[in-house]
C-alpha cells in the first residue's frame, strides 16, 4: 500500500515539474537558451494566483490571470533581454537569465514582503479517496489531471496544426522557415507566451498545495527544471513529461529511503549524472 501511495505522491510532484520544465524545453528547443528566469515566472504565477483568488474568490479567474500575466512577462523578457543578444554565445544569455532571476526574486521580496502570501480561504482542500485507501486532496488531483491534459494538447498542437508545424520548422532551420513565410518573431513570441503561461499555471497550484507563495519559491525549480530537460533529451516535449514523472517518483521514494545519505533536491542531479553516463543524449532523445 505504501508503495502505491509513494508512487501516487511522486506522480503529483512529477506533474508539477512537468508544467514548469515544459516551458523551459520549448525555449531551449527554439533558441538554445537556458532560461533560468523561467522559474521567476512560476513564482509570478503564484503571486498573481493568490492575489487574484483572494480578491475575486475564483480560482479559475486566478488561473487565467496568472497564465496571462506570466505569459506576457515571458514575451517581454524575450523581447527586451534575449532578442538583442541572440547572436552572442549561449553563455551570455545564460548569465543574463541568472541575473534576471535574481532581480525578480528581490523585486518580489520588495513588493510583496519577505514572509510570503497565503490564500485567505484555500480552495480545493477536501480530501478524496481513490481506489479505497489512496487519499488525495482535490487540488492534487486537479494538478495531475490538468498537467497531463495540457501536455497532451500541446503535443497534439505541435504535430497536427499549422502553428505547431511552423514552430517545429523554426526549430530545425530558422532561415529556411523564414523563407517559407513563417514569421520568426511571432513564433518565438508565441513560444515564450505558452511556456511562461504554463509556468504561471504551475505557480498557482504549487502556491495552493503549500498555501504559501514566497519570493524564493522558484529557486529549486530554477535548477531542477534544467536537470529535467537534460534528462528528457533537451527540447523534447514527450521526454520532458516522462523525465518529470520519473524524477517525481524517484524523489518520492528517495525522501523516505535515501534521506540519510542524499538530499531530496540532490536526487535530480544524482539521476542526471547516472543517466548521462549511460545515455549522454538523455533518457528519451531519439539520437
Amino acid at each position: 500500500m505504501l508503495f502505491i501511495e509513494l508512487v501516487a505522491q511522486g506522480l503529483v510532484q512529477g506533474s508539477i515539474y512537468a508544467l514548469i520544465a515544459l516551458g523551459l524545453t520549448l525555449v531551449y528547443g527554439l533558441l538554445r537558451i537556458l532560461h533560468i528566469a523561467h522559474a521567476a515566472l512560476f513564482t509570478l504565477g503564484g503571486y498573481i494566483g493568490v492575489l487574484a483568488t483572494n480578491a475575486t474568490g475564483s480560482l479559475t479567474l486566478a488561473c487565467i490571470f496568472a497564465m496571462l500575466g506570466a505569459g506576457i512577462v515571458g514575451v517581454i523578457i524575450y523581447r527586451l533581454c534575449y532578442e538583442p543578444i541572440l547572436r552572442q554565445p549561449p553563455f551570455v544569455a545564460l548569465i543574463a537569465s541568472i541575473g534576471l532571476y535574481i532581480a525578480f526574486e528581490e523585486a518580489f521580496r520588495i513588493i510583496f514582503g519577505a514572509a510570503g502570501l497565503t490564500y485567505d480561504a484555500p480552495p480545493l482542500q477536501q480530501y478524496v479517496s481513490v481506489f479505497g485507501s489512496l487519499h488525495f486532496s482535490l487540488a492534487e488531483l486537479v494538478v495531475m489531471g490538468s498537467s497531463l491534459a495540457i501536455i497532451a494538447a500541446l503535443g497534439y498542437l505541435q504535430t497536427h496544426t499549422r502553428v505547431g508545424i511552423a514552430c517545429q520548422a523554426t526549430v530545425s532551420d530558422p532561415q529556411m522557415a523564414q523563407s517559407f513565410g513563417i514569421r520568426l518573431r511571432t513564433v518565438r513570441d508565441l513560444n515564450f507566451f505558452v511556456g511562461s503561461a504554463l509556468a504561471g499555471f504551475a505557480g498557482v497550484w504549487v502556491a495552493l498545495l503549500n498555501n504559501l507563495v514566497e519570493p524564493t519559491m522558484g529557486s529549486v525549480p530554477s535548477y531542477k527544471a534544467l536537470a529535467i530537460i537534460v534528462l528528457g533529451g533537451m527540447g523534447s516535449v514527450r521526454g520532458t513529461l516522462l523525465a518529470s514523472l520519473v524524477l517525481g517518483v524517484a524523489e518520492s521514494f528517495g525522501t523516505i529511503y535515501l534521506d540519510q545519505w542524499l538530499d531530496r533536491n540532490a536526487i535530480a542531479f544524482a539521476l542526471l549524472i547516472l543517466v548521462l553516463m549511460v545515455r549522454p543524449q538523455g533518457l528519451f532523445a531519439r539520437r
Binding site: Q9, G116, L209, T216, I256, D259, Q260, N265
Partner: protein
C-alpha cells in the same frame, strides 16, 4: 596682508567646524546588529530588527547612557556565513561598535562569534542555537536555550502528554539536528519509543511521500522541527492526510505566519518556545504591545529574543558608562535580567538556564499550554560539560 586674512579665515573655519563636529562625534554609542534582511530568512530578520530597534528606542527614551544616544548599526547578513564574516569585521574596524547583537541564524552567527571574540567585543546572541557559539570564548553570550535543551524539553512534553511512540521529522540543518539530538537524549530518560526519524531539506514544502510513510508508522505523537515556512505546509498536509495525533514543534514555528499558512490545521499544534503570549510579567506584556504597534503584526520568539539580547547589551553599557571591552563583558555576565523571554542569568559559559514555555494554537492564536520546569533536564551546558 592678504595672507593674514586667509589665515584668520582658516582659523575661524577650523574653530567653527570643531565646535559643530565635536558634540556629534561624542554623542553616540554604537552597537552593531547582524540580521538577515534579505534572502530566505528575511521575515525572521525583519522581526529581529524590529525587536532590536524597540530596545534601543526604549533606552534612548530613558536618556540613553549618561545622556549619550545609543545608535544601532545594522547590516544584512542574509543568514549566510560569507556575508556575516566581512560584516563582523566592518562593525569592529570601521564602525567601532562597543558591543554587538546577533539577530541571525547559526550559519551567520558562528563565524561572527570568532571575529568578535578575537577583537574582544562582547557579542550577545539572540536565537542562534548552535553549541559552538558560546564555546568561541568569554565575550560571547546567548539569551536563548540551546538546541539540545529545547529538544530535551520536547521529549519531556511528549511524556507529559502520556505518549510513548514518536516519529521525528527533522529539518536537515544544524537547528533541526541539534533539536533532534536533544530530543533523543530526553527520549532515553523518559523511555520514549522513536518509531522512525526522517530528515527534510529547508527548501521542501511538499511532504506527500513523507506523510504517507508517517501514517504507516502509526505514531502517538510527532516531533517535527522546522521554520514556519516548512512547518506551515507540513502541519496542514499532515492534518489533511488524516493524521490526528499531537504535533510538537519548537521555536521555528513561533510566528503568526505559521498559523496563517496552516490555517485551521494549525489548531492544537504545540510548540516548545520561550515567549509566553499569556504572560503576566509586565516586561513581556509591554513588549508584546509595543511590538504589535511598531510591526503591525504580533510578536514572535525571534523578535522577543533579539529585543532581550539588545536590552541586555544596553544594560551592560549602562553599568560601564558606555565603555566596551572586558569591563562590558564582566558587567553583562554578572547581571540578572527580567526580559520578555524570561528571567535570565548567565552561567560560566554565558548560557542561560530558564523554564521553557509550551504554547498551543487555539482559535487562531498562540496561548499558554504549560510551562516546562526541570532545572536538571533543562540545564544549559557549562564550561566543564561536553
Amino acid at each position: 596682508m592678504k595672507r593674514l586674512v586667509s589665515t584668520r579665515k582658516l582659523a575661524l573655519a577650523f574653530a567653527l567646524s570643531t565646535a559643530f563636529a565635536a558634540p556629534a562625534a561624542l554623542a553616540d554609542i554604537k552597537i552593531g546588529l547582524n540580521v538577515p534582511l534579505t534572502g530566505f530568512a528575511a521575515a525572521d530578520g525583519n522581526s529581529a530588527h524590529i525587536g532590536a530597534q524597540l530596545a534601543v528606542e526604549k533606552a534612548n527614551a530613558q536618556g540613553g547612557i549618561n545622556g549619550e544616544k545609543i545608535v544601532l548599526v545594522v547590516y544584512d547578513d542574509q543568514a549566510s556565513a560569507k556575508e556575516a564574516t566581512p560584516i563582523a569585521t566592518k562593525l569592529i574596524e570601521r564602525d567601532k561598535v562597543v558591543g554587538a547583537v546577533s539577530g541571525s541564524y547559526s550559519a551567520a552567527t558562528r563565524p561572527s562569534a570568532q571575529i568578535f571574540q578575537a577583537a574582544q567585543v562582547p557579542y550577545v546572541v539572540a536565537y542562534s542555537i548552535d553549541p559552538s557559539v558560546t564555546r568561541a570564548g568569554d565575550y560571547m553570550f546567548r539569551v536563548s536555550s540551546m538546541g539540545e535543551v529545547q529538544g530535551r524539553g520536547g521529549a519531556k512534553l511528549v511524556n507529559e502528554l502520556g505518549k510513548k511512540r514518536v516519529v521525528l521529522v527533522t529539518l536537515k540543518n544544524d537547528f533541526g539536528q541539534t533539536l533532534a539530538r536533544g530530543f533523543k537524549e530526553g527520549a532515553k530518560k523518559f523511555d520514549l519509543d522513536i518509531a522512525s526519524e526522517y530528515e527534510y531539506d529547508i527548501k521542501d514544502r511538499q511532504f506527500g511521500s513523507l506523510i504517507a510513510k508517517i501514517k504507516s508508522d502509526n505514531p502517538e505523537a510527532i516531533y517535527a522541527s522546522g521554520y514556519y515556512f516548512n512547518a506551515g505546509p507540513l502541519v496542514s498536509q499532515m492534518r489533511a492526510a488524516g493524521i490526528t495525533v499531537p504535533i510538537i514543534g519548537q521555536e521555528g514555528y513561533d510566528s503568526e505566519k505559521f498559523i496563517e499558512i496552516a490555517g485551521k490545521a494549525a489548531e492544537g499544534t504545540l510548540l516548545v518556545t520561550s515567549l509566553d503570549r499569556d504572560s503576566d510579567v509586565a516586561e513581556t506584556k509591554e513588549f508584546l504591545q509595543k511590538f504589535r504597534e511598531k510591526a503591525n503584526f504580533g510578536a514572535d520568539m525571534v523578535g522577543a529574543a533579539t529585543y532581550s539580547a539588545t536590552a541586555i547589551l544596553i544594560e551592560g553599557l549602562r553599568k560601564t558608562g558606555g565603555k566596551g571591552g572586558a569591563e562590558l563583558r564582566d558587567a553583562i555576565a554578572q547581571g540578572s535580567y527580567t526580559m520578555p523571554i524570561g528571567t535570565l542569568q548567565f552561567n560560566d559559559l554565558h548560557e542561560v538556564n530558564k523554564d521553557l514555555q509550551v504554547q498551543i494554537v487555539k482559535d487562531g492564536a498562540f496561548h499558554r499550554h504549560s510551562v516546562l520546569h526541570d532545572p536538571e533536564l533543562l540545564a544549559a551546558p557549562t564550561k566543564d560539560s561536553k
